[in-house]
Each structure stands twice: as C-alpha cells, then as structure tokens.
C-alpha cells in the first residue's frame, strides 16, 4: 500500500494505492487519524490506484468517517475503479458517502458545501 497526502489550501487530498486489506489498513487508518489529530477536517480520498479493498479497508474508512464527523469534518471519495467500486456497492458505501469521478469534482463539492 502507498499512502500520499497533498494539502490543497483548506483541504487534504489523500491518495491510497495498492491494497487496503487486513494487513495494510491499520497503517492507512493510523495516518488518517494522525491527520485528523493534526487538525485536518476536509478530506478527498483519491482511489484511482487502489486495486483491492476488503471489509478491513471499509472498516478503516468507516472508523475514519465517524471520527471526522465527531469533529464536524467531511470525507469524500474520487476515482473508484472496478473491484473497489463493486465492494463499495455491495456494502452500501455508495449511498453512505459522496463519490466523484475526479478529484477536481470532489474538491469543488467540498468547497461549495463549506
């Protein structure tokens, strides 16, 4: 798994590449929690390069979203690919989160609703 962050003014674009499974998700979750603890509140998660996600990955995302909500923050997703998209579908995550076709669209939406 590869985890990159890019600060874009008031929001943070996080790119997660590779796999989010039982082995790798704890690291991603820790890094997201670290960003929240450091005061970041608006996240765009770019999943363009994510090949695989299991329920462990979804649990990490859900835990992060709950943590953010408690801080009045927001998290949205962009660029879901084939398998990852299917997993979001069968878990009901598609109706739970805002999902965009591009990072730009996600950024615009977050800025608009602030």
């Amino acid at each position: 798994m590869k985890f990159d962050t890019k600060k874009d003014k008031d929001l943070t674009v996080v790119s997660i590449a590779g796999r989010m499974d039982a082995v790798t998700t704890p690291e991603a979750e820790d890094r997201l929690a670290g960003l929240i603890d450091a005061g970041e509140r608006s996240f765009v998660v770019d999943l363009q390069q994510l090949d695989y996600i299991s329920s462990a990955g979804l649990r990490g995302i859900l835990a992060t979203a709950k943590k953010l909500k408690a801080e009045r923050g927001d998290i949205v997703f962009a660029n879901l690919q084939g398998h990852v998209n299917e997993v979001f579908k069968i878990s009901g995550f598609q109706s739970l989160f805002k999902i965009f076709d591009s990072v730009d669209a996600a950024v615009n939406e977050l800025r608009r609703t602030e």
Binding site: D21, A22, V23, Y52, S54, S55, K69, I90, G92, L96
Partner: protein, 143 residues
C-alpha cells in the same frame, strides 16, 4: 470432486497471503473464470481473518484449506479450524442502508462471504469448525 490443493498453516495474519495465493492458484486450475478470482480472494480474506482474530482466543492453532473442483459445476473451498464453535451462516445481515452514525464498524465481512459465494455451508464436527464455500463454475458471482 477432485482435490486440487491442501494448505495447512498457523492461524496468523502473516500467513494470509500464502493461503490466498494457494486458493487463487487452485481456482485457476479448477476452472474458475479469472474475473471471479477477486471475489474468491475477498471471501477468503474475510473467512481467514475471522478465524485468525477470534477462533483460538489467544492460543495458537492452525487453519486447513482444501480446494476441490469437479471441473463442470463446482469449485469448493473447505476451511477448517479447531477453535471455538462459530457458524457464520447464522449471523444476521448487517444494516447496509443506515446513516453514518447508524452504521456499525463490524459485520460487513460475513455479508461479503455470503454475497460472493454461491453457497456457504457450515458444520461442527467434533472440535472442528468446517466451512464450505461453493463457487459455481457457471453462474454469476454476485447475487
């Protein structure tokens, strides 16, 4: 049914990828469409991590995985452990439509397994949990 592979390894997260690799190879050999390998990988991660986290309650134990195929209709994966009795087929489906506050952190993995395999059968034999996932070689993966 012909046995394609048998894998017995400790119920520890560090062996997850070895188990999944063995099952994926067996699935290809057993005639499973490559497009469905992803579903098998996903279902296996859920079943195996469940056992690794909960079955042996702090003590050590193994997991056995046997893959079989009849080359016509079914590819089956039988997962055995000697941990505490647990029947995932009896666990109710999670709420998939709630708001963020209503959604629970757990329960999704078992839902995946039931969704991704065509049939999931459980039996307790002596001190063993035996879970069988049946994957059709023909019908679509996700119901």
């Amino acid at each position: 049914m012909k046995t394609i592979s048998t894998t017995v390894l400790p119920a520890k997260l560090e062996y997850l990828s070895a188990f999944i690799e063995a099952v994926t190879k067996a699935a290809i050999h057993g005639g499973v469409d490559r497009k469905r390998l992803f579903y098998i990988e996903l279902a296996m991660e859920e079943v195996l991590t469940n056992i690794m986290y909960y079955a042996y309650e702090g003590t050590e134990g193994d997991i056995g995985v046997v893959c079989r195929s009849d080359s016509r209709q079914w590819f089956t994966i039988e997962i055995t452990d000697r941990g505490k009795a647990f029947d995932m087929t009896a666990v109710p489906s999670p709420n998939l439509t709630g708001t963020l506050s209503e959604r629970k952190i757990g329960g999704l993995g078992i839902h995946f397994v039931k969704t991704l395999a065509n049939e999931v059968l459980y039996r307790r034999e002596g001190d063993r949990n035996i879970l069988e996932l049946k994957i059709s070689l023909h019908s679509p993966a996700v119901r």
